[in-house]
Symmetry: C2
Subunit: 381 residues, 2 copies
């Protein structure tokens, strides 16, 4: 169905959109909104080059000289800036004349933003957090379909006017996302656990291993696939993540304390050689991971891990995955563990079904790549 | 160079190899040893089916009825069994008549195994730990080149005869691996940090998120790429990992305590809103991750993250990577974040060079897959 023809009640109500901070996320929101029938988009960005690019690319129709100028007379203002700038910007754009009807953001924490808002801003502001994209990419990658199918948290506070929420909800649906209403505090607690704690643990693990040596050997020189998976996000954008961690510090601290308690309990089990306790702890993780795979429509009991050693050359990955595709073998998940230019790396494929996994291994093996299969639940590494 | 023709001093000294536990690792060791000139391999496995398969596949030349029978008269005995079985098996095979010259294992912890050995076993035993393969895969995937280029830790104790170590060192080099000598305790301390702690953290994170709900929503329903990367090994083989954790509990506990201390310090920084401390913590992780990438011959400053939303269909991955290969674009690292059958997933590619990353994004975009680029150091998610 052409989205421009779908019942666009909300977008039809939104004639003018202002985007403050035109990166990948804000720019894609603008393009999607225009596709959904929004008549004009005005943009502002502190980075004049980004603003010009947005204008030149047709992502926005007009460039404003200030956030307030962009917001004046807008039906919806989207703040696509870092979290720390949002409270002040929300006040600024709500003071525009005429004041905008709806103000929203795309930051990854919500409670702290709302807490200090004046009544004028609070009655217009509904926090948003789309589960797609990357805040740090540029507007040149903006695309109208970025939000297609993505969950999009909306966190109305008790102070917001109901009509404001409904309008934003409609617009979010019109750009192709799936709006999910949740309390700001519940949002922040969940994000602390699913996103912020993982980043903290990745950093801590990276620091622990990076600084450790024994027997004249650095631990960093002996890392394997599990370490690389766990630290892929380590050290990501220090200033942006500082803001996120500090903005969400209450939920993050309580989440980290819960992690600490489980670690305490696990160390106690180890000290007491409580073998059953240790197995239960791992078994619990196994059961939850099974639930996660099932949410992804995968059958964990049926999922096999195929590991192939491949050289570090441009054609190999394409050859391998092309051959799998020709044999109609679907890859559910994959990850590459690069060693170095000389040795290449291990390509780890997750494939459903004993038969398909066996065929994949045979096929890779026949091409001369050392390959083996294991059940992911039996992953040894 | 044909390995069978390379100067095979060690393998020539090893005429008879015994493999107790013929899985992927033991079986591949056998094949590699035969290729290197070892005359005969005798095998034993508690699993009669695996033992028959090893014989039928030509991985071993003879099947023995017991570990002692396999070991009698062998130059080298490889114990390819779970860690917990190794001390007793080491005694058993050293009591064979005639006693084997060298006994080694492939378990992932070393100190606890050595501690209780009798003098007769201790003077013959050198612990080994190859950094490749998966202990739980079957013998049918055994291949002579599994160990090619892999680091292979050797952990001689003070009690072992020097000649025993030299012989094993030579054999490990002959099968194509790179022997790395390290003290048993240093090995266990390093493995605790680079492998066992990551598994514990993956389990704890999985349990914390699996059990958490807020605002009527399960946290598990809101996980993103970072969580999936961090929990890919969660719940792996509870019995095998229980053994590893418990065998290495001293090093593991002290490593987890160091993690706890850093988490305490990080929480203190959050409570005090010590912005500089938080940035330093992340910046330290960034510096260590840079070192890790450099070990892999990658230039972190030059490494871009290209994210493409692709559907869950057999041909797509092959099409995408095939197109990148045709354009001579090399993929340094990749990971797939599967959402579900309907939405597909995000393919995350790491590509060196602004130009190559831009070309990759343009190419994927042109094929209709929503694509954007970010610097991996700026990874937002």
């Amino acid at each position: 169905m052409d989205r421009a023809e779908a019942g666009l009640n909300a977008a039809n109500q939104v004639r003018r959109l202002a985007v403050v901070g035109v990166g990948l996320m804000g720019g894609s929101f603008a393009l999607a909104a225009k596709r959904a029938g929004v008549e004009s988009v005005v943009g502002f960005d502190l980075d004049a080059e980004a603003l010009n690019a947005a204008r030149a690319l047709g992502v926005i129709d007009e460039a404003a000289a200030s956030p307030a100028e962009a917001a004046a007379g807008a039906d919806v203002v989207l703040l696509g800036t870092p979290v720390s700038a949002i409270p002040a910007l929300a006040e600024l754009v709500c003071a525009a004349n005429p004041a905008p009807h709806v103000v929203t953001d795309i930051g990854s924490t919500k409670t702290a933003i709302i807490a200090g808002l004046s009544d004028r801003a609070a009655e217009r502001f509904v926090g948003g957090h789309p589960m797609c994209g990357a805040e740090t990419s540029g507007v040149r990658f903006a695309r109208a379909d970025l939000y297609e199918g993505a969950s999009y948290f909306l966190t109305p506070s008790a102070r917001v006017r109901p009509m404001v929420y409904e309008r934003l909800h409609g617009l979010v649906a019109d750009i192709g996302a799936r709006p999910v209403r949740i309390e700001p505090d519940a949002h922040d607690q969940i994000m602390a656990r699913v996103s912020h704690v993982p980043h903290v643990l990745a950093n801590v693990l990276m620091n622990q291993v990076g600084s450790y040596s024994a027997g004249g050997r650095r631990a960093l020189h002996s890392v394997g696939p599990s370490f690389k998976d766990l630290t892929r996000v380590a050290g990501a954008n220090p200033r942006m993540w500082r803001d996120i961690f500090v903005e969400n510090r209450e939920a993050l601290i309580s989440s980290l304390e819960a992690v600490q308690e489980e670690l305490d309990e696990f160390c106690r089990q180890l000290r007491q050689e409580d073998l059953e306790g240790v197995v239960e702890n791992i078994g619990e993780a196994q059961a939850y991971r099974r639930q996660l795979l099932e949410l992804e429509d995968l059958e964990p009991e049926n999922l096999f891990r195929v590991v192939a050693r491949i050289p570090d050359q441009p054609g190999v990955l394409g050859e391998v995955t092309g051959a799998l595709a020709e044999a109609s073998i679907n890859v559910e998940d994959l990850t590459l563990h690069h060693f170095n230019r000389e040795t290449g790396g291990d390509l780890v494929l997750y494939i459903s079904g004993d038969g398909a996994a066996g065929s994949a291994a045979a096929l890779l093996s026949a091409r001369g790549y050392p390959t083996f299969i294991s059940s992911p639940r039996a992953s040894g590494e």
